[in-house]
């Protein structure tokens, strides 16, 4: 199936897209020519990092894929309003983090309805934010390692989980994470440190086993 560059009336895309173009150049091509090939280059450029982040935050491959698709779709619709005053990358990840958070909220509300639990304290709520409902197919696809990681991630409050994922999965600089999350660099560092310590202790057995 032809995914991009489909010929449509008045929108024929004949020029090949140079994949070395900057984000901003690609954005311009989408804005000015509605160039789907350019948009595809942009999507491909970010999809892996974005998936890693979304998966780490929402804890399911299926949900992460949906969040990603939704995010890229909305981005396409609103791209013509983007003036390039902020970095596309920071902008994109900020939106993605917010989407993931919304996804988590939906899940935990659902989980609460099903479990018929009483209202929780803030702390309980924070630690339960990561509870997700799994479909049978996902359950089958879960590896042992994946389960351990998901369990460990669930134990982290949302803020810690976010900065931890941005750092460990996407390798972002502290400064960039601070800009994206609107935290101070010091707070980002502290959150990462606490998250690493917790993750390390929860995953200790696995890390020990894989040492040799």
């Amino acid at each position: 199936m032809e995914l991009v560059g489909v010929e449509e009336e008045g929108l024929a895309v004949a020029v090949a897209v140079d994949s070395t173009l900057s984000d901003l150049d690609l954005v311009r091509q989408v804005q000015e020519q509605d160039d789907l090939k350019a948009y595809e280059v942009l999507v491909k450029r970010y999809e892996k990092e974005a998936f890693g982040l979304a998966y780490t935050l929402v804890g399911s491959r299926e949900d992460a894929k949906d969040v990603l698709q939704e995010c890229f779709f909305n981005l396409y619709l609103s791209l013509k309003n983007f003036r390039g005053e902020s970095s596309f990358r920071t902008y994109f990840f900020r939106v993605l983090v917010n989407r993931c958070r919304d996804e988590q909220r939906k899940k935990s509300v659902w989980g609460r309805i099903i479990l018929r639990t009483v209202p929780m304290t803030e702390e309980e709520e924070e630690s339960l934010e990561g509870v997700t409902l799994k479909t049978p197919s996902e359950e089958l696809a879960q590896t042992e390692l994946g389960q351990k990681i998901e369990e460990a991630m669930k134990g982290l409050p949302w803020r810690q989980r976010t900065v931890f994922a941005l750092k460990m999965i996407d390798g972002m600089k502290i400064r960039e994470i601070a800009e994206l999350t609107e935290l101070t660099p010091g707070a980002v560092k502290a959150n990462i440190f606490h998250a690493i310590s917790k993750m390390r202790s929860v995953l200790q057995d696995y890390l020990e086993l894989s040492k040799g």
């Binding site: 491909k44 890229f72 619709l77 390692l145």
Partner: protein, 206 residues
């Protein structure tokens, strides 16, 4: 320097984002401290385990892109529709009021302690919008374009977060553009805007 301080810098050391001085301190410490060296290995190992788990097959991405581009192509005809520009006399008030209400709804109707972070951002955006509206006054008409750029950025964010339908936003943008093309506002229109903004201010602050 204490091991705990070093530990906090290990991830920065791995990602080579420490300043030169800090990096030297950490490197020197690592040569002498077995426990911190072990920690460093663990952090590296933790990352590789996480990355391995968070990766996905090409087929997942292909499937995601297939759905995505199908949706994008389906969305195109409606996006190409030309939106009519509203009556000018109504437009000036309509723009800031609608946008501000949209924001206020986003800020105040959301229940509980949902996202302080989002609320803070919305309030900042509200402030920006109000600046945008202020520039509609005669002395500020020239700067309208600049202000509307800020508003556009916000609109894009709002749209991406589903706070408004894209049609609403299309219309808002059309109106902002129409205003930017040198339309004059009457005294009454300016007064109306001023009053509306003042009442929104009060509401936002209370």
């Amino acid at each position: 320097m204490s091991c705990e301080t070093i530990e906090k810098s290990l991830i920065g050391y791995l990602d080579q984002e420490l300043d030169r001085e800090e990096e030297t301190v950490v490197r020197d410490h690592l040569t002498q401290c077995a426990s911190c060296s072990q920690r460093l290995k663990e952090v590296e190992q933790l990352r590789s385990v996480l990355l391995q788990d968070a990766s996905a097959s090409d087929s997942l991405f292909e499937e995601m892109r297939r759905t995505l581009f199908e949706r994008i192509r389906d969305s195109r005809p409606s996006r190409e529709m030309v939106l009519p520009v509203r009556r000018r006399s109504w437009a000036p008030l309509w723009v800031p009021v609608t946008l501000s209400l949209m924001l206020l709804i986003g800020v105040w109707i959301v229940p509980g302690r949902y996202q302080e972070f989002a609320m803070k951002r919305d309030l900042t955006a509200l402030a920006k919008l109000e600046e945008g509206a202020t520039s509609l006054y005669p002395e500020g008409v020239e700067s309208l374009e600049e202000e509307s750029a800020a508003v556009d950025e916000y609109l894009m964010l709002a749209q991406m977060e589903g706070e408004a339908s894209s049609d609403d936003l299309e219309e808002d943008l059309e109106l902002l553009n129409a205003l930017g093309e040198g339309d004059d506002l009457s005294e009454e229109e300016l007064e109306e805007i001023e009053e509306e903004i003042a009442s929104l201010d009060e509401e936002a602050l209370s």
